[in-house]
């Protein structure tokens, strides 16, 4: 195949990937909510309800506090843009998308950190105490989650020899690394980080509007209308991004190889839907079974994730030797 055709194929995969993620993210949130409701014996909202909420919010006029500056207006778009850029880098159904050369894990972590900082600033912008509390808690958690993520990235980089997500997924897909203890420890650490980053159950309750327990919701309390729609979409995208990231690194099987014909994408798509579905079911079950932690226990929880990641690195040195 010629170079141009390859490039076009990679671009097509990229466009499809982004469209798919944006379309699927609210559906994923709907699925998780529905399964959780069913597990609790309620009927639950339909799967498409988050999409309907988004469309309704888009039609509404945002109500903005009088003392809000340009930052308050710009933050939702900037937040969504950073999350979307990060989501575009995480492969879903095919490797070797147009963004593959930039799909560095450090870049993805950096974009997520950027999105978080923007939202924390916006939370403090109006001057309401509640937003300040949310922002401070979010940054406290981030101070523990980010070192853990960096250590997980370090583990993968030691194992594979690169921090490029595409290359890591390809190596692990071929089974060149085998079954490794460090991978298992990194997976546990990664799940803990993902739960904290997406504000899921033991760390933050996504359904809570009880004041003392809110973290993410407290930060975005002042937002309404299309601003809120953007933040909600970004939140859904972030959840899908983390599930995709875990699926791509730890179960990269079935994903279409770089340069494969579009026919293979169908297989990759089916595998991706299955993986995300299983993860979403597991998340719903886990959230139903577990209670939310006290705020002061979350740093302990994330500290454990950091230490597990350290352990992964240490054990990697054992199996590879000190050479």
């Amino acid at each position: 195949m010629s170079l141009l055709a390859d490039l076009l194929l990679a671009l097509a995969a990229q466009v499809l990937h982004v469209a798919l993620l944006v379309a699927a993210a609210p559906v994923l949130v709907g699925v998780v909510r529905l399964v959780k409701a069913r597990l609790l014996g309620r009927t639950g909202p339909p799967v498409l309800q988050p999409w309907r909420d988004l469309l309704r919010l888009l039609r509404k006029q945002p109500v903005v506090a009088e003392n809000a500056s340009w930052l308050f207006h710009a933050a939702p778009s900037a937040h969504l843009a950073a999350i979307l850029a990060a989501a575009a880098l995480v492969p879903s159904f095919a490797l070797g998308m147009a963004s593959a050369p930039f799909a560095d894990l450090l870049v993805i972590g950096g974009l997520l950190a950027l999105a978080r900082v923007i939202l924390a600033l916006a939370g403090m912008e109006i001057g309401s105490r509640f937003g300040g509390i949310g922002a401070s808690r979010e940054m406290t958690y981030a101070a523990f989650a980010e070192p853990a993520l960096l250590l997980v990235i370090f583990t993968l980089a030691l194992m594979v020899g690169t921090t490029n997500l595409d290359a890591i997924a390809l190596t692990l897909r071929e089974g060149l690394v085998g079954l490794r203890v460090s991978l298992g420890l990194a997976l546990i650490a990664m799940i803990a980080i993902a739960l904290a980053e997406t504000g899921r159950m033991p760390v933050d309750n996504p359904a809570s509007h009880l004041e003392v327990t809110m973290v993410h919701e407290a930060m975005v309390l002042e937002y309404s209308g299309r601003h809120l729609a953007m933040i909600e979409l970004a939140g859904a995208l972030k959840l899908l991004l983390w599930l995709s990231l875990i699926a791509t690194i730890f179960v990269p099987f079935g994903i279409a190889r770089a340069g494969a014909l579009p026919l293979w994408w169908l297989g990759g798509l089916a595998a991706w839907v299955a993986k995300i579905g299983v993860l979403a079911l597991a998340l719903s079950g886990f959230e139903t079974a577990i209670a939310k932690m006290r705020v002061f226990r979350v740093p302990e929880f994330l500290g454990v994730a950091v230490l597990l990641a350290v352990l992964a690195v240490v054990l990697l040195f054992v199996s590879q030797g000190f050479a």
């Binding site: 085998g178 079954l179 490794r180 203890v181 298992g184 302990e300 240490v314 040195f317 054992v318 000190f322």
Partner: protein
């Protein structure tokens, strides 16, 4: 053994993974504060240890390891946890939370223990196969973490769980080493059951005397205050 169980083969990988699972469960023991959850974590550790023993029995082609696994399952995996649960119910301490060292401090010390055991084991076993080396490093870590549970807890019950998990580490070491005679493993198993009986009597005496399982009470009757 190192020849047919090289790095990257299935037998090696699964053995390593199970050993590490035992180690992670030791960390869970260190992290847990509630007595019931600690007993369950201990039981899970024993089950994983059973799986590790059976896997090693298959990989090393050593049928006596199946017997070790069976004994581990019966004693450490079923009998002792059930007895511990019964004691917890009898003494009505199932709601108690053990005051101990902070989570982060104890976990950091735990990772330090793992690093220490790796530093000790790797240089001294340069001539052995890589599986033996790593299994020994993992087993020594489990032993040290058991000791850490022992010194970081105040309740006699949770301290005993630390001792028992330490013994799980000994079994892990025994199954990883080629040609460990069965009689050693049997004696370890008998020792555990006997020790557990002594602990049981100790619990009830402690409870009857001080109305608590906190071993800090014992300081008062120690020699220095006589």
């Amino acid at each position: 053994m190192g020849e047919h169980l090289g790095y990257g083969t299935l037998g090696y990988d699964v053995a390593h993974l199970l050993g590490a699972a035992v180690l992670v469960l030791s960390f869970v023991l260190l992290y847990q504060r509630r007595v019931g959850a600690m007993i369950n974590s201990y039981a899970t550790q024993a089950w994983v240890l059973t799986a590790a023993a059976c896997w090693q029995g298959w990989a090393q082609d050593a049928p006596q390891l199946y017997l070790t696994g069976l004994l581990t399952l019966a004693a450490n995996g079923l009998a002792i946890p059930l007895a511990l649960h019964a004691i917890v119910r009898r003494l009505q301490v199932h709601r108690s939370i053990d005051a101990a060292m902070g989570v982060f401090a104890s976990m950091a010390l735990g990772v330090g223990m793992v690093a220490l055991s790796i530093m000790v084991v790797l240089p001294t076993t340069l001539h052995s196969g890589s599986l033996t080396r790593e299994d020994l490093a993992l087993a020594l870590s489990v032993v040290l973490l058991g000791l850490l549970v022992l010194i970081s807890r105040r309740s006699a019950l949770t301290q005993v769980i630390g001792v028992l998990s330490l013994e799980n580490g000994l079994i892990l070491a025994a199954i990883g080493v080629d040609g460990m005679p069965l009689v050693v493993e049997l004696s370890v198993a008998v020792l555990v059951v006997l020790a557990f009986m002594v602990f049981g009597v100790f619990f009830f005496r402690l409870r009857a005397r001080f109305d608590s399982l906190d071993v800090a009470h014992l300081d008062r009757v120690g020699g220095q205050h006589r």
